[in-house]
């Protein structure tokens, strides 16, 4: 798991509770991997409550990974979508000029800012945090900051992971300016390997064709940014 590529995920089994798709987080110790879990519903809470020594099951890694360009890069992440962004940072080249945008609702939901700065310490870089309520960093939606940046800078590659609306706007902004952009999508996952179909977005299967898709491709996908499917497979609006 320690050699997982950015964008790939694992299926994490919390015995007796559930099994969830999780991005694979970088770990301090080399040769190891980690997960970053956000306590949300019963399953993630179950994972959150796992005690040291208790066994969980991990299968994977599954899915494709980001196509990392060189030069001026922009990473846009929100929530646990920052996890693959952090892993991406471990793959950049020494001369890349990297901008990391971290979006959060509020101050207490901001994380990984220090980690990002640390991972980038040998690169020209800046880490910008936005909060919707302005309690930390720049005030406003992270996508307003994206708009501002793409108007100023001709990025060689833009990468995003996080809430779908954020990714949707980021892809639109980048794509309309002809910039290379990729997003890592999240959908309901059961098998993780292209059998069950629960992760479909239009004709794409996130677990198998993704999680990373090119902006070019996403722009023509009728479901991206608009719908996701629930456990029964019914389309729901975002």
């Amino acid at each position: 798991m320690s050699s997982v590529l950015p964008g790939q995920f694992a299926m994490v089994w919390i015995p007796g509770i559930n099994e969830l798709p999780m991005s694979v987080m970088i770990a301090q110790e080399s040769g190891k991997a980690a997960f970053t879990v956000r306590k949300h519903g019963p399953a993630s809470t179950g994972l959150f409550n796992v005690k040291v020594g208790q066994q969980i099951g991990v299968r994977g890694p599954y899915g494709n990974s980001f196509d990392l360009k060189q030069g001026k890069l922009l990473l846009v992440g929100g929530g646990t979508g920052l996890v693959p962004m952090m892993r991406l940072l471990t793959h950049i080249k020494p001369n890349d000029d990297v901008t990391v945008l971290i979006g959060a609702k509020s101050k207490n939901e901001v994380f990984f800012e220090d980690l990002a700065n640390n991972l980038l310490k040998n690169n020209p870089h800046r880490v910008i945090v936005t909060t919707d309520d302005g309690t930390y960093g720049e005030k406003g939606f992270v996508t307003s900051m994206v708009e501002k940046l793409v108007n100023e800078i001709n990025f060689d590659g833009i990468y995003t992971c996080g809430p779908e609306i954020m990714m949707y706007k980021t892809v639109q902004l980048a794509h309309s300016r002809g910039l290379f952009v990729q997003a890592s999508l999240e959908r309901m996952m059961k098998c993780g390997v292209g059998i069950c179909g629960s992760c479909c977005v239009g004709e794409d299967l996130v677990c198998k064709d993704g999680t990373v898709f090119d902006g070019d491709h996403l722009i023509s996908n009728k479901e991206f940014g608009r719908f996701h499917r629930n456990k029964a497979g019914i389309l729901e609006n975002y």
Partner: protein, 303 residues
Amino acid sequence: MEPSLVTSIGKIQLERPVMLASGILGISLDVFNRLYRSGAGAVVSKSLSTEPWDGYPNPTIFGINGGGWINAVGLSNPGAPNFAKMIEPNKDVPIIISLVGSIPEDFSTMVEQFKNSKVIAYELNLSCPHVAKVGLEVGDDPELVKKIVSTVKNSTNVPVIAKVGLGTTHYLNTVSAAIDSGIDAITAINTIRAIAIDVETQRPILSNKFGGLSGTPIKPIALRCVYEISSKYDIPIIGCGGISTWEDALEFILAGASAIQIGSAIGDNWIHVFNDINKGILQYMKRKGYSKIDEMIGLAKKS
């Protein structure tokens, strides 16, 4: 002359003999289109119920080291009405609608809901091994099967297929009951009831404990069923279970199947499997001098 892959399952005619099995990638019309473009002769929907079902919590699918899968998805599905609405725009794809239910009326209600959809056949799932009151619990009761098949046959002119599996009674009795009631074809087989236990945590892996075994492990058993059905009854058969190569597909055709379905192999080799099998069958036909699929159906029973 190039041999033809066209095959007839009774009144159902397909351009190619390899179709998508029910429950595999089967909830979205866009995906159906894609699979059709990548070589599937038809696609079978996820088994639909009258109401939407969430299915079981994860883990719902477990990949066996060395081959095969065990799943207990729990027949999660958006429900027949939602599904019917979703496939309304369909023009091109030969779609077979799989239905699951407990009583005859469940099935006839759903058939009614698809009246205005382009559906080439219905497949009655009489064989899901891991959901109570539907699937095998229905298929294991030949009297109930008779009622369901008659009811559905009376509600539609579209061909109706019964999908059977290995349950607690003899599956050939289910086949026979379905034939007596006018079924148009048989799909054999569904997954086989199974379990997997994690020795570290000492518990069944799937949230439902029991699931259905699919993929390469069940191929010789599925093939046996096709051979047995075709030896005993004069009914078109769709072979299903563990097919992943063109040789597998041909084994089923030689055993008496008019067409075949692919499920788990997609998890193993992704959707290229359709065209790989189509190509392999074509090459075999050329090499052996066959011009139509029909010429090969059931040949292994002659020896």
